[in-house]
């Protein structure tokens, strides 16, 4: 039934994607092609097409500029709902239920997930041995996370560490194979240039039996709800970005990058291709993914066997 609904969406509303895609292909930004340059591999940056090696620095710039207002903007844009999503995400993982865990949280910048993991283990299982390595490619985001953790009891304890690194290429010295029990990445994977590389690194650093869990914006399957969501995304969110953060473009990038992310079954297949064992190709109990709020956000899980 899920597949039928999705097919209906795709064929009944073909112009939706067309209307949303900008098609002025004659002015790709931000780097004009220099004659003789060998930049043949391109990728998407929101709805723009950019050389692959440029995407990382563009994303870095976006997050450097949003870092200090990141949490405020998240609250404003989702009207606080992102907290519910993150609570449900971490709740479903039950960290600490089977003993202390070594966790790694990628794109963990401001520390939302790490804090929830440590609090869940402490409050529910009196677990003070679980540790989280917060990894982010952007130093400004890590700084915000470090500042936030200073207000908690985990500051200066072995339970949390902040490390700057690229999710696609975790250094083998700092992140050896088969180290972690839990790998989380919340609202970060769509900003990475190569998702398969991120999944490969996740597979490498997880122990056998370890869990991969990804929380990310995804495709809304209900067409009516989808229209409202699109209207809100493309209309209200960039405006909130310009009013609250003085930065319309970063938030325009944000909503475009959500549309560019693979759908639930596509992403589940990519996770399976990286070697993880996933549930059935359907939503919900026993499935490879769980939709939150009709598909606005989605939790994908996999286990390394």
């Amino acid at each position: 039934m899920q597949t039928a609904t999705r097919k209906l969406t795709r064929s009944a509303f073909p112009c939706r994607r067309v209307r949303l895609d900008h098609t002025d292909a004659n002015a790709p930004r931000p780097s004009p092609d220099t004659p003789g340059s060998s930049q043949s591999r391109t990728t998407h940056f929101g709805f723009q097409t950019v050389p692959e090696d440029l995407k990382e620095s563009l994303v870095k710039n976006v997050f450097s500029s949003v870092a200090t207002s990141y949490d405020v903007m998240n609250d404003a844009m989702s009207m606080g709902v992102h907290r519910l999503w993150k609570d449900e995400y971490v709740g479903s993982l039950k960290p600490g239920a089977k003993g202390p865990l070594r966790c790694i949280d990628l794109a963990g910048g401001t520390g939302d997930i790490a804090l929830r993991i440590l609090d869940h283990a402490r409050e529910n299982y009196a677990d003070r041995e679980t540790s989280v390595d917060v990894v982010d490619i952007n130093p400004e985001m890590l700084k915000e996370g470090y500042k936030r953790f200073k207000k908690t009891m985990y500051h200066n304890t072995p339970q949390v560490a902040f490390i700057e690194s690229n999710a696609q290429a975790l250094s083998k010295e700092q992140f050896s194979d088969n180290t972690y029990d839990l790998y989380t990445i919340a609202f970060g994977i769509r900003n990475c240039t190569s998702i398969p590389d991120v999944l490969k690194e996740a597979y490498r650093v997880l122990k056998p039996g370890g869990t991969f869990a990804c929380l990310e914006f995804s495709k809304v399957d209900n067409p009516l709800f989808g229209m409202l969501y699109d209207q809100y995304s493309f209309s209200v969110i960039p405006m909130l970005g310009s009013i609250l953060a003085g930065d319309r473009e970063s938030y325009q990038y944000l909503v475009e990058s959500i549309r560019k992310f693979p759908s639930q079954p596509e992403f589940a297949t990519m996770i399976a291709d990286a070697g993880f064992a996933i549930g059935g190709m359907h939503e919900g109990k026993g499935g490879a993914w769980t939709n939150l709020w009709n598909g606005i956000a989605c939790v994908h899980k996999g286990v390394k066997l």
Binding site: C15, R19, H22, L240, S242, G246
Partner: protein
Amino acid sequence: MSAAFRLSKQAASASSRVIPQTRNALRTVSSAFTQQARHSSSQPLYPGHVPLNWFEHAFMLAGSSYMALTAPARHDMVAAVGDLTSGPVLPALRDQMLASPEGRRILKERPRINTQTVDMQKLASLPEGTLGRTYVTWLERCHVTPDTREPVHYVDDPELAYVMQRYRESHDFYHCVVNLPVDVTSELAVKFFEFANLGLPMAGFAAAFGHLRISSAKRQRLFKEYVPWAIKCGGSAKSLITVYWEQRWEQDIGELKRELGLWDAPEAKWPKPRSES
């Protein structure tokens, strides 16, 4: 004009059926021009243009007014309120420009005022008492530069957007010609002056509400001395949006003031010079 563009795009996918002139205009736009996903199938018409539908217009107006009042250091929000409320008045200003030969030249050539387009060294070397020399001295005395003006985003017609941009960039000249610095009282005095001379709603709002932020002593002085001057002078002077400042650098400032029907504002407190070098 923008309605026609929207209709022409609603037929099919975004820009494949755009009329050739528009497509060429979009192509020749500079690389600082941001591409956007336009949900309501309206395309930007000039660099920095952000087309808004009625809901977005209202939302931006509410949001940016709130931010401009609570955080006036957010110049982009003050500029946004200016853009969003300028609707009824800009065509009238454009018509005033069209009615004078000098204004027509401005609309045709569309000059911009920033440190790239204005040769500051040359102006500093002009004789004392000329507009150019007075302007450069004023910039130095107030420790400001013409480079910090937010571009226009929310005006739909490109020509009216230029008129708004011209108004913003000429603001410093209004200070300079009536000999006012950039402290809050003087800014408010200039807002009253601009409202009397040009009629822009934003100048009116700033004038009407801006004085709530200053001390009562300053407010008294503002209303006792500056406001009568601003209304008399601004109301009787020639429309300053039609003045082609860049072509008058060598003109004597006294002669310029007589020609435009302006006279100096009441004496104000100037900032101390930054260094005695």
